[in-house]
Amino acid sequence: MAVLSAIFRLAGGALLANKLRSGLTFTGIVFGVTSVMTIMSFLEGAIGAIEKAFESMGPSTFMVSKMMSAFSEEEFLEKIRRKPIDLRTADVIEQDCQLCDKISPRLFDQARISYGDQSLRRIMVMGAAANFIDIVDMEVAQGRFHSSEDDLYRRNVVFIGDLIRETFFEGVDPLGKQIRIGPKKYTVIGVAKKRGTLFGESQDDYAVIPLSAHTRQFGVPHRRGTFLTIKAVSVEQLEEAMDEVRLILRTYRKVPPSEPDDFDMETAESILERLNQFTLMFRMVSVGISGISLVIGGIVVMNIMMVSVTERTREIGIRKSVGAKQRHILLQFLFESIMLTLSGGALGVGLGFVIAKILASQADVDIDPSALAISAGLIVSTGIGLIFGIYPAMKAARLDPIKALGYE
């Protein structure tokens, strides 16, 4: 142990004695690790933000529609031709599905919303059954969501997202006020809790009205069809419930046994999984490209260590003549390269995180330091010191003491 700590101190001393050289190597590693960490932290933050957006969908809930997602043009073109899911489907599933707890059909349209002389264009207007609020984790900030009575009597009531409240009713109580959706008047009965932005897009620019009011205003669901949000009786029976619904839907939609489903079923988890798969290549490539700078940093380390070994040949000879073993010399040079890359790596991890945080804040994503990214950064930079330092260190360790002593 006394030997190790002494050699460790020797390595540190050698680095300090060669400030310019150590500084250059250190900088190379800092750049490399910073670029990788920036990309990694940013990507991780972005994925995390998307995951968070899906959290409102509970773990026992799944969604059915003719198209939930499309990650390629072919997929999109195939799915867009499918027969829309009609409103009656919800009743059919309600009747036949044993493992379904709640079924909530929804319809979507875009419309202009106005209040007085202010207006917002292209706002998503969702027609939903009253039980939607029970299935999805949508929090009410003020007032209430519509009831099944509102739906039954086709009342013109609206539950608004926070962006609409902010635009029309800043400093004013919105409840009871009348807004227009398209030409029709609706009474505001509730405001949703603010969800904030994701990648610069507001997530609060929507309005929810009773399903019956929606069909009256926007007509029978067209191409897009109905979205069904279904809650299984328990998390454990989610898959069984999905199988049940699949069977009911195939029968109802008369899909021949040889054909694949003509509808999509997704849980929050499966959507995220597909998103992860879809972005995997992109993420790997971007980390890979930034990784090149790490390799360059490693080559800088190796280059500098080679120069250092050559310059210090006599020193190595002296050490060997007084009894330094190969492993002592090897360790001294390895400690030097690892100290450089690890300290450069630590600074790079910090800098990378700060840069990623600044970048992400431009896209309204907040990122937290991730233990995975930090430990990966430190392990990788240590590894670089080891991998690119081992060859020069071995070269030093294997020097013939006689030749090394005679070296000028």
């Binding site: 020797l10 060997k320 003549s321 007084v322 009894g323 002593l405």
Partner: protein, 235 residues
């Protein structure tokens, strides 16, 4: 049992297709406490012999025992161990670490045998005091005179209490006055009971020893004791 014993020692180098015999069948013995000079012109093989005796190299053929240890078949690590424990080197060009203080230079051998820091420093101080450099411990080699540098090197050779002090042209880079100073230091160390071998081509240096081995063309040409009245430095 002598401290050093060689039997039919050969060292052969391959230079292209030619084979160069730097040492040819060297057999000799040196007892503990002896003061021996190895003399010979350049190219005689005396440096090769010194490298073998100093365990910096292994012979091509023949046997070498140092302090009862058979050196011939030792690996790198074992040779390093022997150099660390049994041998103290003093070189012509001092071979001190230029950036390290005198104290750190003297500590060096102790680092590699795991002596704890505190003890290391204590031993190095004592060794520096023995060569009368107690007031120069924190000086770097560049801040010391040639003679002082060589005394630091002697202190480094002594610090581990080796069984053998091996000096290669220890005065080759010093003026005659300083040379005399260093040689007196060796005489003193000899009187204290240390075994000393100096490799030199200077007769004045060799005459400090009690016995001279002359090497010529890789062989021992003569092995003579120096009569007391011809010796330098005893008067």
């Amino acid at each position: 049992m002598p401290l050093i014993e060689t039997d039919n020692l050969w060292k052969t180098y391959a230079m292209g297709s030619e084979r160069i015999h730097a040492l040819r069948s060297v057999s000799m013995a040196i007892e503990k406490g002896e003061y021996v000079a190895i003399m010979g012109p350049s190219g005689s093989g005396k440096s090769t012999l010194m490298n073998l005796i100093g365990c910096l190299d292994t012979p091509t053929k023949g046997e070498y025992w140092l302090n009862d240890k058979r050196v011939r078949e030792m690996n790198d690590n074992e040779l390093a161990n022997i150099r660390n424990r049994e041998i103290g080197f003093v070189f012509q060009v001092f071979n001190l670490l230029p950036r390290a203080s005198a104290l750190h230079n003297v500590e060096l051998p102790l680092i590699y045998n795991g002596t704890p820091k505190g003890e290391r420093e204590k031993m190095a101080r004592m060794a520096l005091e023995r060569v009368e450099l107690g007031d120069r411990m924190s000086h770097k080699p560049s801040e010391l005179s040639g003679g002082q540098r060589q005394r630091v090197a002697v202190a480094r050779a002594l610090v581990n209490s080796p069984s053998l002090i091996l000096a290669d042209e220890p005065t080759g880079n010093l003026d005659s006055k300083t040379s005399e100073e260093i040689m007196k230091l060796f005489d003193h160390l000899h009187r204290e009971g240390n075994t000393i071998i100096t490799v030199t081509h200077e007769a004045t240096v060799a005459r400090h020893a009690k016995r001279v081995l002359s090497i010529l063309d890789g062989r021992i040409a003569s092995d003579e004791a120096i009569p007391e009245e011809q010796r330098n430095g005893v008067h």
